[in-house]
């Protein structure tokens, strides 16, 4: 039986993909909803009553191999099945062949990287309802200038008083 034309197109496309991507898609078929955070990475195993099967992430069809995984039996964390270096390689390959969105969520995907870059370029405190904290000298500058201004206003009177009291002979209020 011949496959429909649409399917044929995808088969042709798949034949052009490099070996690494094909073997990845074979193990983790695209168009399967997979979690985007480590906490939600296949927490419930379909084999909850079988500890041997539940202790392997590969028995869970929604497992994302690009994220850490928590063993539901022992509660221990396991690093991503595909290391960050290999994730980057796969994402780069997939980007070159225009199939990046078929990969599960990874922080090496271009849209995530762009978002992170955008976030990093933002000046902290310039968002809605935020304030730029500034350095300590910037925050206290206004008060210090005001204090200095007040001191200068009273300076003439102070000098006069000081001269009257014998240029400091009778001065009582020495600064600390």
């Amino acid at each position: 039986m011949a496959a429909p034309a649409e399917a044929q197109k995808y088969i042709q496309l798949a034949k052009k993909l490099p070996k690494q991507l094909l073997s990845f898609f074979k193990q983790f078929p695209p168009n399967t909803p997979r979690p985007t955070t480590a906490a939600s990475n296949a927490p419930e195993s379909p084999h909850a009553n079988n500890p041997f099967l539940a202790a392997s992430p590969l028995t869970n069809p929604t497992y994302n191999p690009f994220l850490p995984w928590r063993n539901p039996v022992t509660g221990k964390w396991r690093p991503p099945m595909v290391s960050l270096r290999r994730q980057a390689e796969l994402c780069k390959l997939a980007r070159g062949h225009g199939v990046e969105e078929l990969l599960p969520f990874s922080k090496k995907q271009s849209f995530v990287r762009d978002a992170v870059k955008e976030e990093g370029l933002k000046v902290r405190g310039t968002g809605v309802g935020q304030r730029v904290k500034g350095k300590a000298w910037e925050r206290t500058l206004k008060g210090r200038l005001e204090k200095r201004r007040q001191a200068m206003l009273g300076m003439e009177k102070m000098v006069e008083q000081w001269e009257q009291r014998g240029h400091g002979r009778g001065w009582k209020k020495w600064p600390k």
Binding site: R144, K147, R148, Q150, A151, M152, M155, M158, V159, W162, H167, G168, R169, W171, W174, P175, K176
Partner: protein, 57 residues
């Protein structure tokens, strides 16, 4: 052991009364009265009063 003798002179700090944080240091005999004078403060660019800072224990 006998205590070390105190020096005859001391270094003192004279603070600008313009509250700029600017100060000058002088050396005066320990027994003399505190120093004070009018001098230039580069922060406010004026002659202001400088008074000797109280010494701690």
């Amino acid at each position: 052991m006998a205590k070390k003798a105190k020096s005859r002179t001391i270094a003192v700090r004279l603070i600008s009364m313009a509250m700029t944080g600017f100060f000058r240091t002088e050396v005066r005999p320990r027994a003399s009265r505190p120093l004070s004078y009018r001098k230039y403060d580069p922060v406010v660019r004026k002659q202001v009063l400088f008074l000797e800072q109280k010494r701690g224990k």
